[in-house]
């Protein structure tokens, strides 16, 4: 790391991509993008491009995986071979297996698993392009897909990372900051219930910096939460627009 003395933040506190410390990358969220899935969503977060689809609740296959007293959530986080600089083998890596697990455990707290025993919900996440923070963007999109499938939820789950770059705690690391920075703290959060559902960290932080990173990540989550709600509303407000249009026609 020492042979690359790149300054990630300049004297004015501006980062390589022109952002301030507490600024998010541009986000775009869309709900209901795949017609075969029961629910789906697409997210662009920085250069991340990720699709998420939810199926179910439905009968579990294979059947022996079903649980008598609760619904099973299954998640598959997968990166497309062309999503990164060097082609990634399409076979699931250990990283993808771990991420599939922590993403599932980030979404489970939002579901009423006991409501539909013996069934399963499958969430498939495909990272089409990766740009640092894919697990967070995946969770944000997956929560939308589950809501879009009509599965009852306690709250939407939204995720965002904070990290330490050039001795400063900043929000929403991009690829380069993720690789060269001193620490990365992804957080998933249910804002209405003030509940943290995913928390990981690598790097080295003092206890104070760690606390600060969690807080700044949560503030990022709250901002993305508003966009998440907006994206859901956009799909389901269409009905209301029709109504308004009709009323205008009557007036004319």
């Amino acid at each position: 790391m020492n042979d690359k003395p790149i300054k990630l933040i300049d004297k004015k506190g501006i980062r390589l991509d022109g952002r301030k410390a507490d600024e998010l990358r541009p986000l775009k969220l869309q709900v209901g993008v795949l017609s075969n899935a029961d629910g789906s969503a697409y997210i662009e977060h920085g250069k991340n491009k990720i699709l998420a689809a939810a199926f179910g609740p439905r009968e579990m296959h294979p059947k022996h995986l079903a649980l008598a007293d609760r619904m099973v959530l299954r998640c598959r986080y997968h990166m497309a071979p062309f999503s990164v600089q060097e082609r990634k083998s399409p076979a699931p890596s250990r990283r993808e297996v771990e991420l599939s697990k922590v993403i599932r455990e980030a979404l489970e707290p939002a579901l009423f698993l006991e409501l539909y025993p013996r069934t399963g919900v499958d969430v498939f996440i495909e990272v089409l392009q990766a740009d640092g923070g894919t697990r967070c963007a995946s969770i944000t999109a997956a929560a939308l897909a589950i809501a879009d499938a009509g599965v009852p939820m306690r709250d939407l789950v939204v995720a965002c990372a904070a990290g330490k770059v050039d001795d400063k705690v900043v929000l929403d690391l991009h690829d380069e900051e993720d690789k060269l920075g001193a620490a990365d703290v992804p957080v998933a959060y249910m804002p209405s219930l003030d509940a943290i559902t995913l928390l990981q960290m690598d790097g080295i932080l003092t206890p104070n910096e760690f606390q600060q990173a969690v807080e700044i990540a949560m503030s990022g989550c709250k901002k993305i939460y508003e966009m998440q709600k907006e994206a859901l509303k956009t799909k389901y407000m269409v009905v209301k627009d029709i109504e308004e249009k009709e009323e205008e026609e009557v007036e004319e």
Partner: protein, 263 residues
């Protein structure tokens, strides 16, 4: 992972904890007795076995030479693998590693890697061509809960016990000489897992307690008391306040263990 425990038992555990008590009379923040033996596998460059209550984990370290990663041509390589061996629990099945063993390996790996435990800079034989590769293999022999803390401690103990053969490097040929040197280490991270049961934070859960836990968080702490890896698991959540408490608890318990083992 589902050896069935009766509902009555689960309720009993959960009520105990609500009242600040545990099945084995420990306090909520106490570890079970821990015993570590080092150097028990002669053929391995390093090894350690830990007993944490009835949980038993063996870690073996093998050192071989290999190629460095292209982005770190001057550094040795660390790889961690974990096996949930079928003899350790009726719930473990033979076969390729499942998500639980992969997660366990990656948590142990991250704790060591992020704290720079192994001084990989000193493991380079020829830059870009040949470095030492340190294989850390975590072998769970008996599962009675808290595999993460037990495995991380055993891995550290095994690395501290690891010896590198003396060698001579000439014209691209590595010649082993007499004697050994200690594996160079820069840091000694200790991972503490805190589980949430009935809204109480509990340290070192036994297997039965893990069955009633809502969620867990594992925090690796280095000598300076800084945090170097975190992993939340389990299908429930933590409040921000609980995260703060957990991180303080992790620091206190890590310091305690460090003192106990004189690390």
């Amino acid at each position: 992972m589902s050896s069935l425990i009766t509902r009555v038992r689960l309720k009993q555990i959960s009520q105990h904890i609500e009242n600040g008590k545990r099945l084995d009379e420990r306090g909520l923040h106490d570890y079970r007795p821990i015993k570590i033996e080092q150097g028990i596998i002669e053929k391995a460059e390093g090894s350690a076995r830990i007993y944490m209550g009835k949980t038993e984990v063996l870690v073996g370290v093998k050192v071989e030479t290999g190629e460095p990663f292209p982005d770190t041509p001057n550094e040795g390589v660390q790889t961690v693998n974990a096996e949930l061996v079928p003899l350790a629990s009726p719930d473990f099945e033979p076969g390729p590693p499942d998500e639980n063993s992969i997660e366990l390996a990656r948590i142990v790996d991250r704790g060591l890697r992020e704290s720079h435990a192994i001084d990989t800079g000193k493991l380079c034989v020829e830059a870009g061509k040949k470095v030492f590769v340190v294989f850390v293999d975590v072998y769970v022999l008996n599962h009675d809960g808290n595999l993460i803390d037990a495995s991380a401690l055993a891995a550290l103990a095994a690395l501290m016990n690891t010896k590198l053969p003396n060698y001579e490097y000439k014209n691209g040929e590595l010649k082993i000489k007499q004697g050994f040197t200690q594996l160079p280490m820069k840091s000694h991270p200790i991972t503490v897992t805190i589980v949430k049961i009935n809204n109480q934070l509990v340290i070192d859960p036994q297997l039965e307690e893990e069955k009633v836990m809502d969620s867990r968080i594992s925090i690796a702490v280095n000598e300076q008391g800084n945090i170097c890896a975190v992993q939340k698991g389990g299908s429930s959540y933590f409040t921000p306040q609980q995260i703060l408490e957990a991180s303080k608890l992790a620091q206190a318990k890590a310091a305690e263990l460090r003192k106990k083992f004189n690390w």
